[in-house]
C-alpha cells in the first residue's frame, strides 16, 4: 500500500523521455545490432514502429519494464528491443524515430552503425572494408556446380561437383543440394568432403558434394541450377564474434554455453551448366552392343564346373569399371539353350559392380564347355566400341548313376523335384499397354446420373408397390371400392345429364341426375341405393356437420326430380341448369370434406 501511495504521489512528477541506443555501433558482417527504444515517464504498450532501412532486416524482440525508487523519487521506463541485421558492409544510419506520447511527439537522435567485412585481415581492415563496401552476405556464401567437360556422349558418366563455399560465416543445418536433372540420371550423394581453400587471400570453407550423372537423351541439355538451404548463425552484438569460434559447422555445445547466436535461414542457388550430349557413333557399332558406355570391364565365372546331368551351375557375369552400368544389357544366352536349361536370371548391384546370376543346367553328359560370351560397350576414353570375350569355360558333366533320380524340372517333359525353381524374388515386369485410360478421379458413383438412376428406380419401386396394394384393396374391400368409385361414376352420370340439358330432355335429365346423386350418396355412405332419401341422409352420422346449404341442395334436386313427373311444364332450361349446378356443388363438397 505504501508502495502504491508513493507511486501515485510521485508518478506525475517524472518527465517524459524517449531515447534510442544500440549495444554496439561497430560490428562485422554477419552480426546483429540490438536497438533499444526507451520511453520514460509514460505508459506505452504498443511497439514503436521503426522506419525501413535499406539493406537492414529488422526484427522486434519484445518489451521490458523498469521501475525504480531512489531517495523517494519514483521513476519508470519501458524499453522496446529490436534486432537489426545488416545484409551488406558499409555505414548505416538509423534515422531519427518519432512517436506520439500523451498527444506530444517525441523523437530520438539518429545513430550511425559501421558494418565491416568479417574476413578482412586486421591490418588492412579499413582499406578492404572500403573496397568491399557493397559485398553482401550472398557474395560470401554461394553454391557452384562444376563439371569437367561440357560435351559428352549419351549415357556417358559425367562427374559433377556441387560446392558450397562460405567465406568467414558460420552455417549450420545444411541440406543436401537438389538439382534439376531433366534429361539425366543422377546418382546419390555420398558424404560430402569438407576442406578449406584460400580464395583471393581469404580462407573459405568448402563443402563439396560429388556425384555422377548420365545423360539419357541427346541435344543441348541444361544441368542445374542446384539449390540448397542452410541456417546462417547470427551473433547479437560483438561479444562473441562468430567467425572466430570455429569452422564452417558451428558447434551447438559452444553456442549454448557462450550465449550463441540466432539462426537465419538462407536459400542458395547455383549456376547452370550447359551440356551438349552427342549420340553414340553408328560406325563400328557391334550387332550385340549392350548399350553400356564408359570404361567398363566384363567378367564371367561359373561354379561348380564338375557336375552331373541335371545339377545346377551358377553362371555369374559381372560388369565393372567406371561408366553407366544401368544402361548396359547383359549378353543374350539363348544360344546356350540347346545344351543347357536356363532359369530366370537375377540382376543385382553390389558396390561398383553390376552382376547377373543365372542358373544353367546341363541337359546331357556330352556337354563339355560353356561357350564363349561376348560383351560390347562404347569406351569413352578411346571413343570406340570395344568387345570383351570371356570363355569358353570347361566343365565336366557326368551321367547319372543307375537308379539315381534326375533332379531337373522340365527336361524332356519329365517333372522331377529337386532343383529349386524359384531362386530369388523380385517385382514383376511392367505392363505393355496402358489399359483403359480414364479421367483421373472419375468414378461412376460420383456421377449425378447414377444418383438419378437410383432415385428413379426407388420411386418406380414405391409406385409399383402402392399400385399393387391399391388394386388389392379395391378387389377385396367392397366398401372402400364403392367409396373410391363413387366420384368416378358420379362424373359419368353428370356428363350424361349435361347431354340431356343440351337436348332439352327434361324427364331424362332429372332421372339421370337423381340416379347419379342417389348412387353417389349410397356408395359414399355405404347405404343400399333404395334407402337413399333426404331423411336417411340427414340422419347419417357422416352427415353431422355438413353445411345446411348442401343438404338444401340435395333436397332441391330430389324435389325437382319429383316435380318433373307431375308438372314438367314448369321446368325450364334454367331450372335444369340450376339443378345441375346444385348436383355439382354437392358432389364437389362431399369429395372435399367427407372421407
Amino acid at each position: 500500500m505504501l508502495f502504491l501511495t508513493l507511486l501515485v504521489t510521485t508518478g506525475f512528477a517524472q518527465e517524459v523521455g524517449f531515447y534510442a541506443q544500440v549495444n554496439s555501433d561497430k560490428i562485422t558482417l554477419g552480426e546483429a545490432v540490438r536497438l533499444q527504444l526507451t520511453v520514460e515517464g509514460a505508459d506505452v504498450d504498443q511497439p514503436i514502429e521503426i522506419p525501413a532501412i535499406e539493406d537492414i532486416e529488422t526484427q522486434y524482440l519484445g518489451i521490458s519494464s523498469n521501475v525504480s525508487i531512489v531517495n523517494g523519487k519514483y521513476s519508470s521506463s519501458k524499453t522496446f528491443n529490436y534486432q537489426l541485421f545488416p545484409l551488406k558492409t558499409g555505414v548505416y544510419q538509423i534515422p531519427s524515430i518519432e512517436t506520439d506520447i500523451n498527444g506530444k511527439t517525441y523523437s530520438t537522435r539518429a545513430i550511425l552503425i559501421d558494418v565491416k567485412d568479417s574476413t578482412a585481415p586486421p591490418t588492412q581492415a579499413v582499406s578492404q572494408a572500403q573496397q568491399q563496401e557493397e559485398a553482401g552476405i550472398k557474395d560470401r556464401v554461394f553454391l557452384v556446380v562444376k563439371v569437367p567437360k561440357n560435351e559428352v556422349y549419351v549415357n556417358e558418366p559425367l562427374p559433377v561437383k556441387i560446392m558450397l563455399i562460405a567465406g568467414g560465416l558460420n552455417l549450420s543445418d545444411i541440406q543436401y543440394p537438389e538439382m534439376d536433372t531433366t534429361g539425366f540420371v543422377m546418382g546419390n550423394f555420398p558424404k560430402p568432403a569438407q576442406y578449406e581453400q584460400m580464395i583471393n587471400g581469404v580462407v573459405h570453407n568448402i563443402l563439396e558434394f560429388d556425384t555422377v550423372i548420365y545423360p539419357t537423351r541427346t541435344g543441348e541439355l541444361l544441368l542445374g541450377p542446384a539449390t540448397t538451404r542452410a541456417n546462417l548463425i547470427v551473433q547479437a552484438g560483438s561479444r562473441f564474434p562468430s567467425q572466430r569460434m570455429n569452422g564452417l559447422f558451428q558447434d551447438e555445445f559452444f553456442r549454448s554455453v557462450f550465449g550463441g547466436g540466432q539462426r537465419k535461414a538462407i536459400a542458395l542457388t547455383s549456376n547452370e551448366e550447359k551440356i551438349t550430349v552427342r549420340p553414340l557413333p553408328e560406325d563400328g557399332k557391334p550387332a550385340n552392343f549392350s548399350g553400356g558406355v564408359g570404361n567398363l570391364n566384363f567378367k564371367v565365372e561359373a561354379s561348380p564346373t564338375n557336375v552331373k546331368v541335371g545339377d545346377p551351375i551358377t553362371l555369374r557375369m559381372s560388369i565393372l569399371g567406371s561408366g553407366n552400368k544401368q544402361s548396359a544389357r547383359f549378353p543374350d544366352l539363348t544360344d546356350l539353350e540347346k545344351d543347357f536349361k536356363l532359369y530366370e536370371p537375377q540382376i543385382k548391384d553390389e558396390g561398383s559392380e553390376r552382376y547377373l546370376e543365372q542358373v544353367i543346367i546341363p541337359k546331357r553328359a556330352d556337354v563339355t564347355e560353356i561357350p564363349k560370351i561376348q560383351f560390347s560397350f562404347f569406351n569413352v576414353d578411346i571413343q570406340q566400341y570395344q568387345t570383351i570375350a570371356r570363355g569358353p569355360i570347361d566343365i565336366t558333366v557326368k551321367d547319372l548313376e543307375p537308379g539315381e533320380r534326375l533332379n531337373v524340372v522340365g527336361l524332356n517333359n519329365q517333372t522331377v523335384a529337386g532343383a529349386e525353381e524359384s531362386l530369388g524374388e523380385d517385382i514383376v515386369f511392367i505392363k505393355d499397354a496402358p489399359g483403359q485410360l480414364i479421367k483421373k478421379g472419375a468414378r461412376f458413383y460420383k456421377n449425378a446420373l447414377f444418383y438419378v438412376f437410383v432415385a428413379i428406380s426407388f420411386a418406380a419401386w414405391v409406385f409399383l408397390l402402392i399400385y399393387y396394394q391399391q388394386t388389392q384393396r379395391l378387389q377385396t374391400d367392397a366398401v372402400y371400392a364403392k367409396r373410391m368409385m363413387a366420384p368416378k361414376k358420379a362424373k359419368k352420370g353428370l356428363l350424361q345429364a349435361r347431354k340431356f340439358i343440351d337436348e332439352n330432355k327434361k324427364q331424362e335429365f332429372y332421372d339421370t341426375l337423381f340416379k347419379t346423386l342417389q348412387h353417389y350418396l349410397g356408395n359414399k355412405l355405404h347405404l343400399p341405393i333404395g334407402t337413399v332419401t333426404l331423411q336417411t341422409i340427414k340422419s347419417h352420422k357422416k352427415f353431422d356437420g355438413v353445411d345446411k346449404d348442401i343438404i338444401e341442395s340435395i333436397r332441391h334436386i330430389f324435389e325437382e326430380s319429383d316435380l318433373v313427373r307431375y308438372a314438367a311444364g314448369q321446368i325450364t332450361e334454367e331450372t335444369m341448369n340450376n339443378s345441375f349446378a346444385h348436383a355439382e356443388r354437392v358432389i364437389d363438397y362431399l369429395e372435399r370434406n367427407m372421407k
Binding site: K439, F444, L449
Partner: protein, 249 residues
C-alpha cells in the same frame, strides 16, 4: 413437361461430362516412351513420363503399376507402394500388381502381427473389389431385392421360393455393404508414408517423438495445420508429421 424433363437430363449430362487435358492417343505414346526408358534402366525418365500422363488428367491401373515399378527400381519403395495402392483401386485383381505390392511392402516394412481368420477374410474380400465394383454390387443387389418383392406380389411366386432367394440376397447384401463401408473408411483420407519419419506429440520440430513411421506404412490424415499433418496409425495412435513425409492415396 417434356421440355422440362429434357432440360433436366441435359443439365445432368453436362454436369457429369468433363474433359481431360490430354487425349488417350497422346497418353498411349507417352506410355510407350516411358516403357522404353524403363527397359533401358532409365527409371527417372520413365517416372517423368508416367507422371506426365497423370498430370495430363488421365489414369489407369497399368500407368500406376508401371510408375510403382519405376519408383521401386529407383529405391523409393514408399512411392512405389503409394502407386500400387492407387492401381489396386482400378485393377484390384491384377496378380502382378498384388505380387509387386506385397513384395515392395515386404522389402521395407517390418512384419506386422498376424491377423485372425475373420480379419483375413474381410481383407481378402475388400481387396478383391474396387469401390466402384462394390457400389455396383450393392446397387444391383438392392434392385434384385426390390424386384423380388414385386415379382412375389404381381406374379404370385411361391412364398418358399421368395424366402430362399431373399435370404441369399440379404446375406450377399450384408457382406457387400459391410465390405463397402470398411473399404470406404479404409480409403477415406488414407495416405502412405514416403520416407521413414518420426511422429511427434506436437506440430513442432523440437517436440518429443511419439513413435516412428516406416516408409510405405499406411496412415489416416486427421487434419492439416501449416506444414504439419496430424495422422492416425492403424492401431489408433495419433501423431504429427511433416506434410512432405506422406502423400494421400
Amino acid at each position: 413437361m417434356k421440355k422440362i424433363i429434357f432440360l433436366i437430363s441435359f443439365v445432368l449430362m453436362l454436369s457429369s461430362v468433363s474433359f481431360a487435358d490430354m487425349n488417350k492417343q497422346e497418353a498411349s505414346s507417352i506410355f510407350d516412351r516411358a516403357n522404353t526408358a524403363y527397359q533401358q534402366g532409365n527409371y527417372t525418365e520413365a517416372i517423368d513420363q508416367y507422371e506426365s500422363i497423370l498430370a495430363g488428367g488421365l489414369e489407369s491401373g497399368p500407368v500406376y503399376y508401371n510408375l510403382g515399378n519405376s519408383y521401386f527400381r529407383k529405391g523409393r519403395a514408399g512411392k512405389a507402394i503409394l502407386n500400387y495402392e492407387r492401381a489396386r483401386e482400378l485393377t484390384p485383381r491384377d496378380r502382378d500388381l498384388n505380387f509387386n505390392y506385397k513384395h515392395a511392402k515386404k522389402q521395407i516394412l517390418s512384419e506386422a502381427g498376424s491377423s485372425g481368420f475373420i480379419q483375413k477374410l474381410v481383407a481378402s474380400h475388400t481387396s478383391f473389389y474396387s469401390i466402384s465394383e462394390m457400389v455396383v454390387c450393392v446397387t444391383t443387389l438392392f434392385l434384385l431385392a426390390g424386384a423380388l418383392i414385386l415379382f412375389s406380389l404381381y406374379l404370385k411366386w411361391p412364398m418358399r421360393l421368395v424366402i430362399n432367394i431373399g435370404i441369399v440376397l440379404d446375406i450377399l447384401l450384408i457382406i457387400h455393404i459391410g465390405g463397402l463401408v470398411i473399404k470406404s473408411q479404409d480409403m477415406n483420407n488414407a495416405a502412405i508414408i514416403l520416407e521413414t519419419t518420426a511422429a511427434k506429440f506436437e506440430p513442432r520440430e523440437d517436440s518429443t517423438t511419439h513413435y516412428k513411421l516406416e516408409e510405405g506404412a499406411k496412415a489416416k490424415i486427421v487434419k492439416t495445420e501449416g506444414d504439419w499433418v496430424k495422422i492416425k496409425r492403424p492401431d489408433g495412435k495419433l501423431g504429427w508429421v511433416f506434410k512432405q513425409a506422406l502423400e494421400p492415396i
